[in-house]
Symmetry: C2
Subunit: 244 residues, 2 copies
């Protein structure tokens, strides 16, 4: 089983969601990170056109969503569940931060089915609902305003789950970038610059000050391209020609 | 200057946003992570009641948003800008992943003002807009569906920026958790269990099998509370009494 396919063992449970738009946005957030199993416990309005509009290209995730009557039913088949909650809880379940929670869930998916549980937009999760979970987790947030929208919280956790399970690999390659300038080409440009500065009197050989070290530093930046060097040298040649 | 106040040096620039709801949701996403400086380049509709509705408790961020005519104006005063884009670009600007981009932006905010630039919901950023930035970054996503909603992308990046600048500290404390059971209390419970199992004949001293090691493993789990131990011992005592 590949690590990416472990994402299929992680279900996202929304407890009593009020706004169908948030259900749709949740489906989209899940699919962008490769998750597909959405479970809804007593949704207020579902299905609904607003959910479909917000799901955008994740309509398949929405259509496959399972609707349950209770949290117990939603968690059937799981062996580990983490509750996401913004509030401090009057409970003995052990808390952690979202990133650590995602890593733990990802590791737990190797053993079997797991769940990530989110509460109602206004009231959050009840103590009874949290008590079904083995862990609860908090998204680090601004202490003066920690109220993430429901689907935003899902997005952050699904993003963390993907990073925990699927190595992003090398960053996307730079397309259309020119061939990089080599060391000796940059040196030739520096030499050209020095000759041009001397020929126009800008650079006094008796008192060169910091001109050439400055130019070297400017051109030492990573990513200088062969063509840029050629353009600059052509420009210098033209300036020198004109002054002759 | 504290690390948290460096968040004030990071502006979020939305280029030509189409949906006022996304502007509001962006303001909320920013505020939950402690960012406050929103810049809008040629928003299609702004201000708008839908933006206010989606901003929820971040109406202050929305009201302070700066509206600009051009990307150049939006970036005035910054020395470093990162473009977030989902597509591969025909440009030589260096790409990286969102997490590394957030770390680089956070570090760059020490030197001065920086910007994180997001494109239009449908068309993304134009090549001209990306060319204003020193870096472009991609949110790792499902290769089959990488289309994050605009405000979701902002949420992920602001979350990464917060983590890069503000150590979340210890997880929130467990409130209402009882006093933890100490080693010797757990040992007394194990001893009690053994006596109970012997007294009712469940445990044969001549062939104890794995009963006690199993019980020890069960009770070795972290977080057992003093009161739980007391309840279990009371229960055992009552069972033993009844069998007498």
């Amino acid at each position: 089983m590949s690590d990416a396919s472990l994402l299929d063992r992680i279900r996202i449970v929304l407890a009593r969601p009020s706004h169908p738009g948030n259900i749709g946005a949740t489906a989209r957030a899940m699919k962008t990170m490769g998750l597909s199993r959405l479970v809804l416990v007593q949704p207020k309005v579902f299905p609904d056109p607003q959910a479909e509009a917000m799901a955008s290209g994740a309509i398949d995730v929405l259509n496959q969503a399972r609707v349950c009557d209770s949290m117990a039913e939603a968690l059937e088949g799981t062996w580990f569940a983490t509750a996401i909650t913004g509030r401090r809880r009057e409970l003995g379940v052990e808390p952690c931060w979202a990133r650590e929670a995602a890593a733990e869930l990802a590791a737990s998916a190797v053993t079997g089915e797991v769940a990530l549980v989110f509460g109602n937009e206004t009231s959050g999760l009840s103590n009874e609902e949290v008590a079904f979970c083995q862990r609860w987790a908090v998204i680090p947030a601004n202490p003066e305003y920690r109220s993430l929208n429901l689907s935003q919280a899902v997005q952050v956790l699904c993003y963390e789950l993907r990073l925990a399970l699927v190595a992003p690999g090398s960053p996307p390659p730079v397309l259309g970038a020119g061939e990089p300038a080599r060391h000796e080409e940059v040196e030739m440009l520096l030499d050209h610059l020095e000759r041009a500065a001397l020929s126009c009197g800008f650079l006094d050989p008796a008192s060169p000050k910091r001109f050439m070290p400055r130019m070297r530093r400017l051109l030492a930046r990573k990513g200088l391209e062969k063509e840029e060097v050629n353009i600059l040298r052509g420009f210098l040649a033209a300036l020198m020609d004109k002054g002759r």
